[in-house]
């Protein structure tokens, strides 16, 4: 784990207000454990004939969550595995549709849920930067403007025209973070990106995130690493079984969460 003391303190964040750039209102998400129809054409017809169907099982991954995020804030989502924080993040990112409630995002957003998604190992680093950029909805022209900083950040200058399959896994991860954190966006969503990469890379990520904050942009982080959350976030939300347990200043929420965990063990 990263030694937190080495890093600059949290940058004082603006007293929030104005219009929220992300508005999550009473959002719930239900997942179906099994399909109501078997997932084949033949199964579909068998199902039509079969009269006593088993009821579908489902579970609520997120229950009635409301979260308003204001420009310039850094929000941390914490909670145990399966608490619904990643599902919530995916709804904000537009990957899942909420079952109930509404999600509104009013600024340009980039999400980094897994480093290197959308990369292709046959393409060169350069081609992957443009492919990834286009999958994030950025034009070639926009990507050209940030291409050099991306390569610089990832530290892959001499390999940029080699196919990605010759990269080390660390290089791929660095390139993934570099692309997502350099495309033009007012909001960035990050899911557990600190679990990967070596110390030096993590340090660079932190630095980059601090720059992001300094530029007044908005961040939402999902992480199990409480020191990371405490170091970066002005506000935190603790979820358990899809429900909001606590929400407010980071130290308060992390404190409550820690107390809860200690009581369990």
């Amino acid at each position: 784990m990263l030694n937190v003391e080495e890093h600059p303190p949290v940058i004082a964040q603006p007293a929030v207000k104005g219009t929220p750039c992300i508005e999550v209102n009473n959002v719930s998400k239900r997942f179906w454990m099994e399909r109501n129809q078997a997932s084949t054409v033949s199964g579909f017809f068998i199902n039509l004939l079969n009269r006593n169907k088993k009821p579908r099982r489902s579970f609520m991954a997120v229950r009635d969550v409301t979260l308003h995020v204001y420009p310039g804030e850094t929000i941390g989502l914490i909670g145990a595995n399966g608490s619904g924080k990643s599902t919530l993040l995916k709804m904000i990112a537009g990957i899942y549709a909420p079952t109930e409630g509404t999600v509104a995002v009013r600024k340009r957003l980039v999400s980094l849920l897994e480093l290197g998604t959308g990369f292709n190992s046959e393409l060169t680093g350069r081609e992957n930067v443009y492919l990834n950029g286009s999958l994030l909805g950025r034009t070639r022209k926009e990507m050209q403007a940030v291409f050099d900083p991306i390569v610089e950040f990832a530290g892959v200058r001499e390999f940029i025209d080699a196919p990605l399959k010759h990269y080390s896994s660390g290089m791929v991860v660095r390139l993934g973070f570099a692309v997502a954190s350099h495309v033009d966006a007012e909001i960035m969503l990050l899911d557990e990106i600190f679990a990967v990469g070596d110390d030096q890379f993590q340090r660079k990520c932190f630095q980059r995130l601090h720059e992001f904050q300094a530029e007044g942009r908005t961040l939402i982080l999902v992480s199990h690493a409480l020191p990371t959350i405490q170091q970066l976030c002005s506000r935190a939300m603790w979820l358990s079984r899809g429900k909001v347990m606590d929400e407010g200043p980071t130290d308060q929420v992390v404190g409550a969460y820690k107390t809860y965990i200690e009581r369990l063990s």
Partner: protein, 262 residues
Amino acid sequence: MNGSLSDSWHYREAVYNLAMLRLRIRYSNSVLGFLWTLGNPLFFMIIFSFVFTVLFSNGIENYPVFILAAMLPWNFFNAAVLGATSSVSGAREMLNKLSFPREILPFSYVLAEFINFLMAQLTILVLLTIFGFGTGLPLLTLPLLMAIVTVFSLGVGLLLATINVRLRDTQEFLGVFLYGLFFLTPIVYSLDRVAADHRIFSTLVTVFNPMAGIVTLFRQVIYLHQWPDWSLVGLTSLISILIFLLGFFVFRSRSRYFAEEL
């Protein structure tokens, strides 16, 4: 994702990049590369020509060209629809981590096949000219005909891609279905040569299989050197646009659930 085409337009570079990636992977794995695209219709042309001119004489002049003219748009349709159908269900990882408009996946498959189609079509036209088969002004309508078959393929592809997310063996059924449809499309024969007491067949095919009209138009232009039957152009355009709108609407109404359903 607000449900309009302008949304997809914003991601046009992703469509192009994904299509190029597809073509590159396909061709980098084979020495002959693009020749495969051309080789397939040429191979079938030779087989069918042998069967239907040598074994069963049919009296059609320049039978190889007769087949080829209809074979290229059919092959495009076939490959585009097959590719588009599995495009979404095959991209589970990407759909779960990225939020791009989902239709760029089928679009990119169709674009890749279109590029193939275009190159094959041009090569064939050059070959026909070299062998003195002749060309003519009606060839100027080819881009329009290619647009019609592309819009139609997109519509069918969007529709089947949506179904394939829920019913995963759609793509298996589709292979068999397309194989049958090949023979219910006037590719190795033409409808006006169907015997008089089987006219009901011609009518059914024309009404229920839009590809019949489409390949007939290609044949009129490339093989017969005639201007296309404009009423048929109008009809196939209309059907293609309607199918596309239907496909796009159905796809868009379901695409927000693709990530969790896969």
